[in-house]
């Protein structure tokens, strides 16, 4: 006896739209059951995890802060993933963007450099991320090297480069030899939107990226080419689409957006370079991209949802003393349920009894 997945002949659009909602309910039920097993109240947990963060201005602001880099990176990744190119190295592109952008901040530190510093830093951030993203793309198109391996390994190269810089040439001379750069001047700081708030202008970059991507994917030949390259590479070649150019383009876009996220975080949140500038945004964004089904608006929502699980998880640790492991398990359950719900919309489960198969 075994189970078989058979494709459905017709896929209900209503089911497709409701699948994520169902996935959420199921994952909350599973998590609630676990919390109940631990002898805690699932209702209180739901309140602390979801309702309180969504009803409090401070948490809402933190939600945007956390979702901004996730959305920016995931939007970029969606270009690659749509073309079935597996860029796993967004974390490295994020770091390289931050490094190149910060170079200017450190060069102009303590000078009278004016308003042009910040915009140029952002541009350098994009360039740094894009160039770094082009490395695995080049290796793939030129030598056929698997991009999953190269992009992932380049993450460590980027992190160690940053490590070298902040412990060596870019170390703050007045910082007791601790591994960190000087704090950036105001001219090199991405300002908060509201004074005393923590939401910086990076949030607009994320929204713009979502809108532009929606137009590109839905309305342009390039968007169509991406989809075709991913779904039917042979057909794309016959249609005269250059898959090499597509590969280079999507890696550059993906890397550029990750680099923009990197320089935005460093200049808007952290305010200096230090050995660790990302709590794994580049990897979490992969989850976000798939949770959002590679759809720009979906990614925006997914970024907010994943941000909510982080913030709710912290509240749960503080207010209910629920362990961190539960938050991480919940994130896993959520992703699994969303992917399962999507699969069940397109496929039906058939129970095959012995001898009934072939």
């Amino acid at each position: 006896m075994r189970f078989e997945l058979t494709p459905r002949t017709t896929v209900s659009p209503v089911a497709r739209a409701l699948a994520p909602v169902a996935a959420f309910i199921v994952s909350f039920l599973i998590a609630g059951f676990v919390i109940w097993l631990m002898g805690r109240s699932p209702i209180a947990a739901f309140d602390v995890y979801v309702l309180q963060p969504l009803s409090d201005p401070w948490s809402l602001q933190e939600l945007l802060v956390k979702a901004t880099p996730l959305a920016l990176i995931a939007i970029g990744l969606s270009y690659c993933f749509r073309a079935s190119l597996w860029n796993i190295g967004a974390e490295g592109q994020y770091v390289m963007g931050a490094i190149l952008g910060s170079w200017l901040a450190l060069k102009t530190h303590g000078t009278e450099a004016g308003f042009w510093v910040l915009p140029l830093m952002l541009v350098l951030g994009i360039v740094g991320g894009a160039l770094y993203g082009l490395v695995p793309a080049f290796l793939k198109t030129r030598f056929g090297v698997n991009e999953i391996l190269t992009s992932l390994m380049l993450v460590y190269v980027a992190q160690l480069t940053l490590d070298y810089l902040v412990r060596g040439p870019w170390r703050d001379p007045k910082g007791f030899n601790f591994p960190q750069s000087v704090t950036f001047d105001p001219s090199a700081t991405l300002p908060p939107i509201l004074e005393s708030g923590r939401v910086h202008y990076g949030v607009f970059f994320a929204v713009i990226a979502v809108l532009v991507t929606a137009v590109i994917l839905g309305r342009t030949l390039f968007g169509y080419r991406l989809k075709l390259t991913g779904d039917a590479p042979r057909a794309a070649r016959f249609a005269g689409f250059n898959s090499r150019a597509t590969t280079m383009a999507v890696f550059a876009i993906s890397g550029g957006l990750a680099g923009l996220a990197g320089i935005s975080e460093v200049s808007g949140q952290i305010g200096q370079l230090q050995p660790s500038i990302s709590p794994g945004y580049g990897f979490t964004a992969i989850t976000v991209a798939f949770l959002g089904r590679l759809n720009p608006l979906g990614i925006l929502v997914a970024a907010l949802v994943v941000a909510l699980t982080f913030i709710g998880g912290e509240s749960a640790q503080i207010l209910l003393r629920l362990p961190l492991d539960l938050t991480q398990a919940f994130q896993g359950i959520l992703l699994l349920c969303v992917l399962a719900a999507d699969a069940l919309v397109s496929y039906r489960i058939r129970l095959v009894t012995r001898g009934g198969g072939k």
């Binding site: 412990r167 030899n177 601790f178 591994p179 952290i270 230090q274 660790s276 990302s278 709590p279 961190l324």
Partner: protein, 360 residues
């Protein structure tokens, strides 16, 4: 009109007086104490020791305190977690990793009535204290033990990152070894991690392969000392007592003990006597504790105990002058007969006799 204005002015003065007294130190009946840990609590290591300190507060002050912790907080994303504690009524917040320095200061500026305690940092504010431990005192002792016990004459050291605290630890360890064995050699391997059993184990094995028979470590996992145990060599526990991981190899362990300090600081907030200050405690303050000396001859044990007593009483400073740099030149002595605190806290040179280079 006039009287209203006057009343308004009066109310304003009263309000100002009220808020002034609120800002002033005031005794409290009950406080909430929060902790931010950089790693998981687990059952040994850096964050575990801080959590032991948290539990000590609960034990000592009972229902006068309520404690909370948030574990595995990434340094680049810690500001929100710290602010969550500040917003949920915590009166005293310990942020227990160097990387939390700037976020702690940022949150502290927003919440002037909450007291913050940042471990191992160097920036303070009216409501931010800093504290750290003189682990190098313990390292001088284990250096002496290693120098005395080594048969190959080569001792090994697994370092985490080449930051001043670790460099000072290596120097203190080597000076201790040299004091009893002038020709002793040291080999250092950088694991570039605070906690990664696989990397630390590899580093330890590389050292053992090079003929090292005493292994010190400035990383948190028991992997190095376990590697020593497997080869029949000796090692020293780090942060927590690691005897259960290496019962035959552990000679002693340098234990981080934050309990006394944490209890004192919580009491100070309860009494209204908390002040921003910088604390750097060692063996004398019970912040650094040596686990029982084992697996060694009696004379070595006696020497270790005497050294420990001498450091505790202040008769011995591991960095007593003269101290020579690798080039043989004497380091300027800025303290009272020893290197100054600033020189130790910012140490970025090796002492004479270490044939290695600090990675830059």
């Amino acid at each position: 009109m006039f009287s209203r204005k006057l009343f308004g002015a009066f109310a304003g003065v009263a309000l100002a007086a009220l808020s002034a007294s609120g800002a002033m130190a005031q005794a409290k009946d009950k406080i909430k104490v929060g902790f931010i840990y950089v790693g998981p609590v687990g059952d040994h290591g850096w964050s575990y020791q801080h959590d032991q300190g948290r539990q000590a507060i609960v034990k000592a002050l009972g229902d006068k305190v309520e404690t909370t912790f948030v574990e595995s907080v990434p340094e680049a994303d810690s500001e929100r977690a710290i602010e969550q504690l500040a917003r949920t009524g915590h009166d005293l917040i310990f942020t227990t990793s160097f990387g939390f320095m700037e976020p702690t200061l940022k949150v502290a500026r927003k919440y002037p009535n909450i007291k913050f305690e940042h471990a191992t940092g160097f920036k303070r504010a009216p409501n931010v204290s800093t504290y750290a431990a003189k682990f190098h005192e313990g390292r001088y002792i284990i250096g002496q033990i290693a120098g005395k016990m080594t048969k190959s004459g080569v001792i090994g050291y697994v370092g985490a990152f080449p930051i001043p605290e670790v460099i000072a630890g290596i120097n203190a360890f080597y000076l201790g070894a040299q004091s009893v064995n002038p020709d002793v050699k040291i080999k250092v391997v950088w694991a570039n991690t605070w906690y990664d059993p696989a990397k630390e184990g590899d580093a330890a094995k590389a050292l053992l392969d090079q003929g090292v028979d005493m292994l010190a470590q400035h990383t948190d996992s028991p992997a190095p000392i376990q590697a020593a145990e497997a080869r029949g060599k000796f090692g020293f526990g780090q942060a927590s007592d690691m005897e259960r991981f290496a019962p035959k190899a552990q000679l002693t362990a340098i234990i981080d003990d934050w309990s006394d300090y944490y209890i004192a600081r919580a009491k100070a907030v309860l009494d209204g006597t908390w002040k921003s200050e910088d604390t750097w405690g060692g063996l004398a303050e019970h912040m650094v504790v040596m686990s029982p000396y084992k697996n060694m001859p009696d004379d070595v044990k006696k020497m270790a105990e005497e050294t420990e007593a001498a450091i505790r009483s202040g008769a011995l400073n591991p960095f007593k002058c003269p101290i020579y740099g690798q080039d043989g030149k004497e380091i300027e002595c800025k303290g009272n007969g020893a290197l100054s605190d600033e020189q130790v806290l910012g140490m970025n040179f090796y002492v004479k006799g270490i044939e290695d280079k600090i990675p830059q």
